[in-house]
Amino acid sequence: MATETRTTQGAPAPGGTSFSLSDPTFRAIVYQILVVGAVVLVGWFLISNTLDNLARRSIATGYSFLEREASFGIGESIIDYSPKDTYGRAFLVGVLNTLKVSVIGILLATVIGTLIGVARLSSNWLIAKLASTYVEIIRNIPPLLQLFFWYALVSDSLPPVRNALNPLPGVFLSQRGLWVPGLSHSPVWTMMAVAFAVAVVGTFALSRWAKGRQARTGQIFPMARAGLGLLIGLPLLAYILGGMPTALDMPKLTGFNFVGGKALSPEFFAILTGLTVYTSAFIAEVVRSGIVAVNWGQTEAARALGLPSGPTLRLVILPQALRVIVPPLTSQYLNLTKNSSLALAIGYPDLVSIANTTLNQTGQAIEGVTMIMGTYLTISLSISIFMNWYNKRIALVER
């Protein structure tokens, strides 16, 4: 049974390359060379144009401007900043402001979003309807419009600073924001901070001990109550032992503004409220679908075993719901962080706003924009790296 093969006898061994377009390996290489070539060409075209244009217009390049004095003021800052500081520090202030509004926004949005998401599943018809109305309204209106609304609301509905509302002693609310009493310097505050740190460590140790004891004897230690007691009680104890100082740094209207205390600016309020409200509607959906995704059978099985509702939630439902919730939740966190760049429109000094001012004053637009993008990319990448790690860790084992 001699076979006649249509390929040449002694054809190259499978896997070898035959330099013809019908060889997939060869073809893939050709395609890739073409695509990469095209991209490199376009990139080279853009970069060379840019360099050419920069040179032609004798625009300065490089990051040395970061060392120069910024000489513009910034409305609010976590670290000390004055116009005498450098552009680099100003940019850092912007980054910190972005992080501040993002972190607080994320915390609040998570809390509110979770509440609303749970409320949507409530057996109380009224609450479920109200929650879903909230979600449907908020989700479908552009966040920028909401920001403008909140900002206008503060400056229009609140009284001028001279007639500030004074709902509690030392608390003032006006167009200029919210002032609350700050803590005046006293060693007791440090003691309380230390006490709190001790309580955190103590709670941690206690929970390990409780776990161990339960494993040994089966007795269940009321960990939640004990932990809360420690976390609140120890600082309180420190406060009482420290002689219960009542001296507060009260805000006082001196000259044009309140002086002293802690302040919350309307810009911060608007951006924080806007981001929190907008994102919470999305988080509500994420939470709701996460909870719904856990099969009702799981609850029934836990109940049938006699587990009370607390442990059912903690040991059975939450660990499963979190797997569904966490990935979309992180992308909501990422969205919130990116949306904080809208602060530009209402005057909160976030990183985009400060970088824009910097690039405007120094004329170094390319550097400014790369710094903005670089910062956001760093944040995004760190979050996705964390996500991948988390997903791997919690992946359900299947056959």
């Binding site: 217009r57 000489s71 003021g73 409305g75 044009f256 309307p266 005057g347 001012t357 405007n360 637009a365």
Partner: protein
Amino acid sequence: ATLDTVKQRGFVQCGVNAGLPGFGNPDSAGNWTGLDVDFCRAVAVAVFNDPNKIKFTPLSAQQRFPAIQSGEVDLLSRNTTVTLTRDTSVGLNFAPVTYYDGQGFMVNKKLGVKSAKELNGATVCVQSGTTTELNLADYFRANNMSYNPVVIESNDEVNAAYFAGRCDVLTTDVSGLAGTRAGVAPVPDDHVILPEVISKEPLAPAVRHGDDQWFDIVKWTVNVTIQAEEFGINSKNVDEFVNSKNPDIQRFLGTSPGMGKALGLDEKYAYNVIKKAGNYGEIFDRNVGPGTPLKLERGLNALWTKGGLQYSAPFR
């Protein structure tokens, strides 16, 4: 070269303020008006002999330099202060100053403030990305005072924040303050502009580095308007001067050739500019002068012959 690009394109692309009455502002029909805008038109006339061969790009303070650097606009006429950094590292060339200004403060009368020196601790509304922002910082630093800046990108928002009561003080160029008080304030008389002028703000149109011919065109278009006023030539009477025997005026209006050609423009470009855009005084009066809501006096912007600073280099 920019001139060729512009001619080929058929219009001048001009960057202007998005909403500063008297300087750059679209009226309700969408037509751009203002002093800065008129100088853009003058350049369009110089190039095309047509004040409408122009497109305006409204720019925020933060956007203006990237826009001119990148070539997004051919000409930046957006109440921009001439400074050394802008001339050098930002890479701009400034035409003659079209408006001499200085930074001032506006406050609500109810505060009873009489002088800028009393502003310690005040909240100040200021637009971001401006010399104003820098002067403000310097001024308070120099006088050992502190302030709370509320820095917003768009002019509109800054004004809105001030009038809503978010700030005690609004700071920008005095002309801008006047414009704002006249055009934006709900009740103009509630607000006063404080006497201190804390900086020199020579405002001038700018082009980017690297194209001397285009720079010359803009420079000598601005000069035309100033020189015309000095000669007493305006859009109404320019035709009478065409036959003037004065050799200066003949050269100026292009009756005797040479000047326009040197710039690469029509010989009669100056005539056209005066005829279709007017002289400096006309432009001033039309947009910001006493007859307008802004009610600004000529002051520093009077001709040098009348004790002001407006002075054109000679056309020869």
